[in-house]
């Protein structure tokens, strides 16, 4: 209780500096046209996901039996009723794509959250305690990294059973070592700084040191990594869906849409082209945004 008066002025000045840092970050980020474009598309995709029911012209699973494999509106035989055409069982492509945004963003959020939380925890433990705990954790991460990520995810799904949930768990496990390594390196670099020592001398407990003193100062590269692995998560989940090991039909997940479209590759180009384009645009936007964030946070590039 008697701590409060000491901490509160401290806090307000801290809030002010972090506000300044945010403003500085934004001014650098804003200079990068690609990053801003990426951000705009990401916001657009998020809005689409939220309002999918309102925006989509049809239900994503309703089958119009008179309209199998109709081409897009601008092509001969297409109609404006189904702007991007219909698939093999008469479902509206556009509506399925719009609803697909929900799955991709959902996958990205869940995968990044799981791998971020467990990766940060393990990285903090490894970097803070060092010694055999560190060795053990890092060797386990080395083992995970010795497999090509998609292969390990595929095998994990084979063990757990093919479903969207299991695909997300598998991808999270595969992505986690990157967070562990990043957090550990940051923690080790920060641990020798004066503010950590003073906090330790002031009697801060282990947990407080780890999560309140150290962690906030390690966050910047982690946030960038999180943005970039959002795109990896979407790509890997789509790849698993494409191989039949991710979301199962009739879920309108983009990779699964591509898997269903494979047989019509020579007859109906639109069922193959649009889902992949949706994946590409979304992943590209996240990568543009992540690159912009990294450049804005990287002091080395600011110099030049």
């Amino acid at each position: 209780m008697n701590n409060t008066p000491i901490i509160s002025p401290n806090d307000s000045s801290e809030a002010e500096t972090s506000w300044m840092r945010l403003k500085e970050f934004w001014s650098y980020f804003y200079e990068n046209k690609g990053a801003v474009a990426g951000l705009c598309v990401v916001v657009f995709v998020i809005l689409l996901a939220f309002f999918a029911d309102v925006v989509a012209p049809h239900s994503p699973i309703e089958q119009y039996r008179d309209y199998f494999l109709k081409p897009p509106a601008w092509q001969e035989g297409g109609s404006w009723r189904f702007i991007l055409g219909t698939d093999a069982v008469g479902r509206d492509m556009l509506s399925r794509l719009i609803h697909g945004t929900r799955y991709s963003l959902f996958i990205g959020c869940i995968v990044v959250s799981i791998s971020l939380v467990s990766g940060i925890s393990l990285g903090l433990i490894a970097g803070f305690f060092r010694g055999w705990v560190d060795t053990l954790i890092m060797r386990i991460m080395d083992v995970i990294l010795s497999y090509p990520s998609l292969l390990l995810a595929l095998v994990l799904v084979a063990i757990l059973g093919p479903s969207l949930t299991n695909a997300m768990i598998a991808i999270a496990i595969v992505l986690q070592p990157h967070y562990v390594r990043l957090t550990r390196a940051q923690v080790i670099a920060e641990s020798s700084r004066d503010y950590v020592t003073s906090s330790r001398v002031a009697g801060a407990g282990t947990l407080r040191l780890m999560f309140i003193t150290l962690l906030p100062n390690c966050m910047a590269p982690l946030i960038v990594q999180a943005t970039l692995s959002f795109s990896t998560a979407i790509l890997d989940a789509a790849a698993l869906g494409f191989l039949g090991m991710g979301a199962q039909p009739p879920t309108p997940e983009w990779g699964t849409l591509l898997a269903e479209a494979r047989e019509f590759i020579s007859s109906a180009w639109w069922v193959v082209t649009f889902p992949g384009l949706a994946i590409l645009i979304t992943v590209l936007s996240f990568n543009l945004m992540g690159d912009g964030m990294r450049d804005a946070l990287d002091p080395k590039l600011k110099r030049s």
Binding site: S146, P148, L154, V155, A158, G161, A239, L243, L280, V283
Partner: protein, 352 residues
């Protein structure tokens, strides 16, 4: 600056180099044990007991079940099973495929050259385009060329390659009719494999059109598999160039009035390529993951397709063996890259 004088390698630096080698190999041992534990646990982690897993959907009678449990040693303690698994492994025995009853190692070795050929072509493709593009983009920073290369690289980096493969099939095989859709060579040709590399074998066979056929089968999968490494290499090369171009010795070289080409080729490039070597080496994992997708799309008979097929056929011993072999390949290549990095960058070697 770097490999001007080779003599230190062979005299007083031999011991640190050797120590470096030992320490890196030593790091691999626990990782390799971890990899074997994962492969060992794989069959045991699949829901249902191992005999039911191995028997598949046919099922077994209770007596036969007990007999098989004893025969495969599943009734013994786990650590004994693991040790036996390990000793078999060290003798090159990865067990038998459940489906084909062939030794897993034989199947792997038969199919591996196809993947090796595809991956080699893909990484060559990635380097031939990625390296010059990155070098020029770095040298002409901010130019239209730089922007074009970086945008293309980012698009390539974000590419779902399974979709790229499908699009190329639609365009080049479907609409234009230039390339075949699947396989390694037209069924019109047959010859005994010599090297396992279809390009070389078809050339050696001397049959007219065989080489052309092999090449045309290889082109689309190569592009699909090489796209992501190409993007990564271009980006990495550019940033390495930018870093080196800011160094004092490059400024000195420029101030001396050396022509730009000489500054790049002699002074900058050598040092810029050091991190790029690592990047190229690290693409092995990316290539093997990409091979899973690329080989599936183009029906390329390599280990990527074999792994996917084995998973779907529930051929778990094959999956287990493949997991082990692939991880071993990635680890060995990473070790080589690590050592190579130590060899071309003396700063690393000396600090160890």
């Amino acid at each position: 600056m770097i490999i001007q004088d080779l003599s230190p390698f062979f005299s007083d630096n031999l011991i640190p180099m050797f120590r470096f080698l030992i320490s890196r190999v030593g790091l691999l041992i626990p990782t390799f044990i971890g990899v074997t534990i994962i492969a060992f646990s794989f069959i045991r982690l699949i829901p249902g007991d191992p005999i039911e897993v191995l028997a598949g959907e046919r099922g077994v009678s209770p007596e036969r079940h007990a007999q098989l449990m004893a025969q495969f040693g599943f009734d013994r303690p786990l650590w004994q099973q693991y040790l036996e698994f390990l000793s078999k492994l060290l003798h090159g025995d990865l067990g038998q495929s459940i489906v084909t009853k062939q030794p897993v190692i034989d199947e792997f070795l038969t199919l591996f050259p196809a993947t090796l050929e595809l991956s080699t072509m893909a990484i060559l493709f990635a380097m031939i385009i990625g390296l010059p593009a990155g070098i020029i983009a770095g040298f002409k920073r901010g130019s239209i060329f730089d922007h074009t290369v970086m945008t293309t690289a980012l698009v390539g980096y974000s590419m779902p390659i399974f979709w790229l493969g499908l699009l190329m099939i639609i365009l080049f095989s479907g609409i234009l009719g230039w390339t075949p859709v699947s396989g390694r060579i037209s069924f019109l040709f047959y010859f005994e494999p010599v090297t396992g590399f279809m390009l070389i074998d078809s050339y050696l066979s001397g049959q007219e059109g065989a080489f052309r056929s092999a090449l045309s089968h290889l082109i689309l999968p190569t592009i699909a598999l090489g796209t992501i490494p190409m993007a990564v290499i271009a980006r990495q090369t550019r940033s390495a160039m930018l870093e080196v171009l800011g160094e004092d010795y490059v400024r000195t070289a420029r101030a001396k009035g050396l022509p730009p080409f000489r500054v790049i080729a002699i002074h900058a490039l050598r040092n810029a390529l050091i991190p790029v070597v690592t990047t190229i080496g690290l693409q092995v994992g990316v290539l093997l993951a990409g091979a899973i997708l690329t080989e599936t799309i183009f029906s390329w008979p390599g280990i990527g397709k074999w792994m996917v097929d084995s998973i779907f056929r529930r051929d778990y011993t094959s999956v287990q063996g493949g997991l082990l072999m692939i991880a071993a390949i990635v680890m060995v290549v990473n070790l080589i890259v690590d050592l190579l990095y130590g060899l071309i960058n003396p700063r690393i070697r000396h600090t160890r």
